[in-house]
Symmetry: C2
Subunit: 163 residues, 2 copies
């Protein structure tokens, strides 16, 4: 994997064939892993991973409620995305929204009993799927390495944040 020819690791050259092959493997497999988790969750509980994120955040929140904007930044979503998603979840009775008493123009998102119920039912199978598809697939060393790789990639994303 190493070489003495000019351009190696200068950030100036294009990826090598090996690097490109690994890149494709990596990005496609992680995407496939995400979809598989998603469809497991869907099959086990009729929730999407978006639903799960929202319900998880609300479950852990003070009084099972949160201001919309706060929720968005907590789970790292754009407000627009969250608004669309909350609309769909509200139609299904998983959450409801009401005017926020403390913040003018703010919307409070509340967990309904149906939402809390759905979340409870989804948690165990979801965690089991994570174990089966991720934890059990890797050696302990690989799990550590995966964490380090994620951290390094995240750091690079942050470093180049403005494109």
């Amino acid at each position: 994997m190493t070489e003495a020819t000019p351009g190696r690791r200068g950030g100036r050259q294009l990826p090598t064939a090996d690097e490109l092959r690994i890149w494709r493997d990596f990005i496609e497999t992680t995407a496939a892993l995400g979809s598989r988790l998603e469809s497991r969750l869907q099959g086990d509980s009729s929730l999407s991973s978006g639903d799960y994120s929202v319900l998880l955040a609300l479950s852990e929140a003070e009084g099972e409620a949160m201001r919309s904007s706060e929720l968005a930044s907590h789970i790292g979503w754009e407000r627009s995305r969250l608004s669309h998603h909350l609309g769909r979840m509200e139609r299904r009775g998983l959450i409801r929204r009401q005017e926020c008493a403390t913040v003018p123009r703010g919307a409070e998102v509340l967990l309904t009993t149906a939402g809390a119920e759905a979340f409870r039912g989804a948690t165990y199978p979801h965690l089991r799927a994570i174990r089966e598809l991720f934890v059990d697939a890797l050696t302990p060393d690989q799990i550590v390495a995966a964490g380090e790789i994620a951290a390094a990639l995240r750091a690079q994303l942050d470093a180049l944040r403005t494109q």
Copy 2:
């Protein structure tokens, strides 16, 4: 893959807090990496990564053309997804479709000159983005490890294919 203490790596227990933290880091960061690549590609060339996959496959195909079904399995898409996507790409003039001479009921997908042009313009910036965001972010060892992790995850996905 065996266990001494109850539960460790037996596939029966839930993930530990550490494993869960790494899992979240890993899946969220790889997803973010995918979106960043997508938006870079979009900004550089007005192509989505779906467009890019299709154009890449067609560019490398005999006569810059391929039967729809063959194309679908080549890039690992469902036929329905491809059909929708080809419809959008056809509207933008990147490809066109015609009855296949050899295969009854088959559809031939052809690269247009505009499509070939768009693909040529997209390639270099796309590869550069891969280098900046993935290759340059990792040490050579980490790149190798990423490949091994991807292979292990893929193997597990295949092993548990039926859910």
